[in-house]
Symmetry: C2
Subunit: 255 residues, 2 copies
Amino acid sequence: MCQLMGMNCNVPTDICFSFDGFRRRGGETDHHADGWGIGFFEGRGCRLFIDWQASSCSPIAELVRSYPIQSTNVIAHIRKATVGRVSLSNTHPFLRELWGHYWLFAHNGDLKTLPELDGSRFKPVGDTDSEYAFCWLLERLAQRFPTEPAQAELHAALAELVPELASHGSLNFLLSNGTWLAAHCATNLHYIVRQAPFGQAHLIDKDVSVDFNALTTPKDRVALIATQPLTDNEQWTRMEAGELVIFADGVPRRL
Amino acid sequence: MCQLMGMNCNVPTDICFSFDGFRRRGGETDHHADGWGIGFFEGRGCRLFIDWQASSCSPIAELVRSYPIQSTNVIAHIRKATVGRVSLSNTHPFLRELWGHYWLFAHNGDLKTLPELDGSRFKPVGDTDSEYAFCWLLERLAQRFPTEPAQAELHAALAELVPELASHGSLNFLLSNGTWLAAHCATNLHYIVRQAPFGQAHLIDKDVSVDFNALTTPKDRVALIATQPLTDNEQWTRMEAGELVIFADGVPRRL
């Protein structure tokens, strides 16, 4: 299995503090050492860093930890290979374009069966069930909406399609189009919303604290989503099995 | 205008030496300071680093210069914005998936008119003519071949489509699907093939030399393509206007 981390906020924010803890689960505080990746939306653009090395010792992970990239939507993943060998093409998050937007997807879990992809315009490059699931989701959206629908229609379609996909196996995932971030829980997914009054946070995976009062304005709102909580002195919300939450401007809304 | 650099070889090779010279043209030895990017194919996977900062001072460029990523197909670009503002979504190379392969594209030049893209499954995310041209090319290939054709058929299709696209303006580009790399020249593009007996190379943009004898085996063959030659003591071949060359295993073949 793998670990997921996501961030959605109302102002561009860097994820250096949280990533510093998360990356240690890739080979140091946990055994997910079969590659890792992180994607940052910046405006309509998207930056994706992926590596087949363990995140705890990857030079690219060290850059991401020390280089504050400001983003409103981030998806990260560290991999423990179950389906598909260790290779760059099997490393999450996966990136595709639909309706003139980039989409990012990362998955934790195993699909026991694969949904039908014949004739799909979106095809997996690697051999993970995860990329297969992503392609299926985008293909179904593209078939339903030749051009980009209103957000409410799009979310209604996701609320229909995701349970169908989830019937194939264990499907914890994060999905973003740069405007919002969707989180679906099958077994393990937690989130926290940080907003004024801000406090201190202390990482679980490294003895480091940060005082968000010193780094934020009263209007800032940051939602952080992770397989397991990243801090030990804050109240994380555990998502329920089958729950699909859309985060926009740092606000969670259950679909 | 912008500057292009590409590499195609028969064994995975790092591009650190050449990139060290090339990156200086982004704000130091030349004025292409409006972002840069580089994409590396590794097996079927693809790693893409893009930044809107000048390549001469970007921390990501410093990582790429110092971290030897082994690849058989590389495309890099430094940007002097002409069409489209300075932003991550306008930064080359652009990445898409077709037939279960990633494709990278980078362009130097300006299209005076844009080809028809109505109903295309590939849509630009940013607002450059370059990404528009890439989407048009992939859409025409996808329409012609619902599944991946044999390589000879694919190259024949490119030989037909590229002149049509080039009729819209100035089109120097590099395109790769991870197996081969295509280079099209409108105004400025040069290449060199390095193979045994290897010699020394000295960069133009920095006083650094390398002795390839110490780094290669007799079977290695590396083709390097660039808008302007990167070294001052080797014989680069200047491509002709309208010339389309496919590089595979380091061997150039004119289409």
